[in-house]
């Protein structure tokens, strides 16, 4: 997993609420057995028409946003299916951070496992950044994970909260499984105790 510390990038505005994982990556692209290569199909049904031509109005098809690394989105981003193909598709497109007022739980966790930072800010701050994002490539948003700040194009900085453990893993690009395996003595001990108490499991 790639480390995430600082990011200065173009932010694409997606001012819709309840953007679900079916919109992020429709199910016909879940047939892959790999993690990579999903970026071309990110937001497929909003991005392309039935013949596979780009829909020029869709934000990521506009020249200013083709290299966007940040998404600013409406409430409850990533609801719906647990498919990790959603963060894989975002990442493969080049998105490293999302800014919204809220996320669905599973999607939120899936982001951290793939080196994407989902930032939660209050509605009025998301609104400021949404306005910024609408200015196109001229308005870059800066994210500093160490100091937990998002800085708008005009220099206004907002503080965001993030779980310390998740932050640590993201800053250092740490793999969860490796970390957990260091605790295998605790798991062994639990297993022994639990199988005595609940042998039918």
């Amino acid at each position: 997993m790639d480390k995430f510390d600082k990011l200065s990038g173009i932010a694409a505005p997606l001012p819709l609420v309840n953007i679900d994982t079916d919109m992020i990556i429709p199910k016909q692209f879940l047939k892959t057995i790999k993690r990579s290569g999903l970026g071309v199909n990110l937001f497929d049904e909003m991005r392309y028409d039935r013949e596979g031509n780009e829909i020029p109005d869709f934000v990521l098809n506009k020249p200013a946003y083709r290299d966007a690394q940040i998404l600013v989105a409406g409430d409850n981003f990533g609801c719906g299916s647990s498919r990790e193909h959603a963060p894989w598709a975002l990442l493969d497109f080049g998105i490293r951070a999302v800014i919204s007022t809220s996320y669905a739980d599973i999607f939120y966790n899936n982001c951290f496992k793939n080196g994407i930072l989902p930032i939660v800010l209050p509605p009025e701050q998301v609104a400021v950044l949404m306005k910024d994002a609408e200015k196109g490539a001229n308005a870059r948003i800066e994210i500093d994970l160490e100091n937990q700040t998002v800085t708008a194009a005009d220099g206004t900085a907002f503080h965001f909260e993030v779980d310390p453990f998740k932050k640590h893993c993201l800053l250092n690009g740490l793999d969860d499984i490796g970390l957990t395996m260091e605790k295998s003595a605790a798991i062994d001990a639990f297993e022994t105790k639990a199988s005595a108490a609940r042998p039918w499991v």
Binding site: P15, I33, K34, G74, N76, S102, N110, A189, W200
Partner: protein, 468 residues
């Protein structure tokens, strides 16, 4: 001891390690695996030279992407990429030595139907699966939730999940349901009342007389859609109905083990003075047969209502409602019962169990579907299918003009060829009405099995109470 909720009790019994910041390693008792969200996890294990830590607690079944046509034994009926996924699961199950129900096995079916049916799901367990509807298993008083593929890999390798505890939410449904109102109407009405993010950060426990009165099948329908309300999991405390359902299932405990298990299971309830972070109460009598009109499961209305206008909403929901109406091709003020339907889908882990098929067949008996309408029944498992054939339900569906399919997810997510065409409108017993969920530009109205059957007969959304 301080009073605890059911969730607190199950949580406390499964914490294998707790870090100073409250991050826990939660031990996982059952890990269910299917073909779509697991290949990358097994690939990860192979690359790191890791094994499955507890293969005996890991159960795999292909369901999302398998054909549901009766000729599917012939692998040529599968599209190339579906076949690759199913073959990958075959191989992974074999290489890693996990429990497996291949497509050819009569016990194959939707993972959330197979788990309870085979007695893998038991009260007080932690159950995970790389599928958001894992909440279904909460009907047994198991803490069950969906996980992503990285987490699937994590559970395969360590039998634990990194978790922080959620908050406790109580959803109480008081009193009795009126005739024609089902578990599906309860769960949709709750989402209608709380919104799709109303449960975010919570584990919901459903309780109250109307919940107690439900069968295990009905309780699974209710918990299944906890995720649509944003909750991490949904739970119902186990009782005599739960124990009766489990007894004698292939993987249920037997003899002295059963007695020991029962002794613990009977302690699995929320203490009277337990603390709740949020409480929602609905009156059973107030719940009507409902349908969804929009593209979010929270867009719920009683069947007697009319299509709302965007101005009826506030905030970000105004634009969302306009977009939903455009997508669904509906006009504000139109009666819901005037909406014509092209397709009826009965199935999914929400409503693909025997009781659901009985409810639909009771309405369809001796009747025919409307001409020109496509109607299909996809039983949730091979065993549900067999039982429905034995009870004569299959014949009722066939006589009514329904396709009688093999088990799988089918048009619930439309990964296989069971899809809506653009603009087609479906009355569906599944759980998601998102844009494109059942096919590109397809339009979904979520309903109960009885309501789906009623719509099949009339060709439009219909109040099932008029047919009873």
């Amino acid at each position: 001891m301080s009073p605890k909720t059911l969730y607190d009790k199950i949580w406390d019994a499964h914490v294998a390690h707790e870090a100073e910041d409250g991050t826990c390693l939660l031990y996982i008792d059952r890990h269910l695996v299917h073909e779509v969200t697991s290949p990358q996890a097994f690939e990860g294990l192979r690359m790191a030279n890791r094994k499955v830590r507890a293969p005996e607690k890991t159960i795999a079944v292909p369901d999302h992407n398998v054909p549901t046509t009766t000729d599917r034994a012939n692998a040529a009926t599968m599209t190339e990429d579906s076949r690759i996924q199913v073959e990958a699961l075959d191989k992974n199950a074999k290489d890693f030595g996990i429990n497996y129900y291949p497509v050819s096995d009569i016990r194959q079916g939707i993972v959330h139907i197979v788990g309870p049916e085979q007695g893998w799901t038991l009260p007080g367990m932690t159950v995970v699966c790389g599928d958001s509807h894992t909440a279904t298993h909460g009907a047994f008083g198991a803490l069950a939730h969906g996980i992503g593929t990285s987490e699937v890999e994590h559970v395969l390798a360590t039998q634990t999940l990194i978790q922080k505890k959620s908050k406790n939410m109580k959803v109480e449904i008081t009193g009795k349901l009126r005739p024609g109102v089902t578990a599906k109407d309860i769960t949709l009405s709750v989402i209608g009342a709380t919104g799709t993010a109303g449960g975010t950060g919570y584990v919901i426990e459903y309780c109250g007389e109307a919940i107690r009165d439900l069968s295990m099948e009905g309780r699974m329908t209710v918990c299944n859609m906890a995720i649509e309300g944003g909750a991490r999991a949904g739970l119902i405390a186990p009782d005599e109905k739960t124990f009766a359902y489990i007894m004698g299932r292939p993987h249920a405990p037997k003899g002295a083990q059963w007695e020991a298990a029962m002794a613990w299971w009977k302690t699995l309830y929320s203490d009277d003075d337990a603390q709740w972070d949020k409480v929602v109460t609905l009156k059973g009598e107030d719940i009507a047969p409902v349908v969804t009109w929009g593209t979010s499961p929270e867009d719920v209305l009683p069947i007697t209502a009319t299509v709302p206008a965007p101005q009826d909403f506030t905030g970000g929901k105004v634009d969302a409602a306009q977009r939903a109406l455009d997508y669904m091709g509906l006009t504000p003020g139109q009666k819901l019962t005037d909406i014509a339907i092209d397709t009826v889908f009965i199935g999914s882990c929400t409503n693909g169990r025997i009781e659901d098929l009985r409810a639909a067949a009771a309405i369809l008996k001796g009747k025919k579907k409307k001409d020109g309408l496509r109607a299909m029944v996809v039983p949730g498992s091979g065993l549900v299918r067999a039982q429905a054939e034995e009870e004569g339900l299959a014949q009722i569906f066939i006589d009514a003009g329904f396709e009688w399919r093999m088990a799988g997810c089918s048009m619930c997510l439309a990964m296989n060829p069971d899809q809506l065409a653009p603009g087609e409108r479906c009355a569906s017993t599944s759980n998601r009405n998102f844009e494109g969920r059942q096919g590109y530009k397809g339009r979904t109205h979520l309903v109960s099995p009885a309501m789906a059957a009623a719509a099949a007969i009339t060709g439009h959304l219909t109040d099932v109470r008029e047919m009873m």
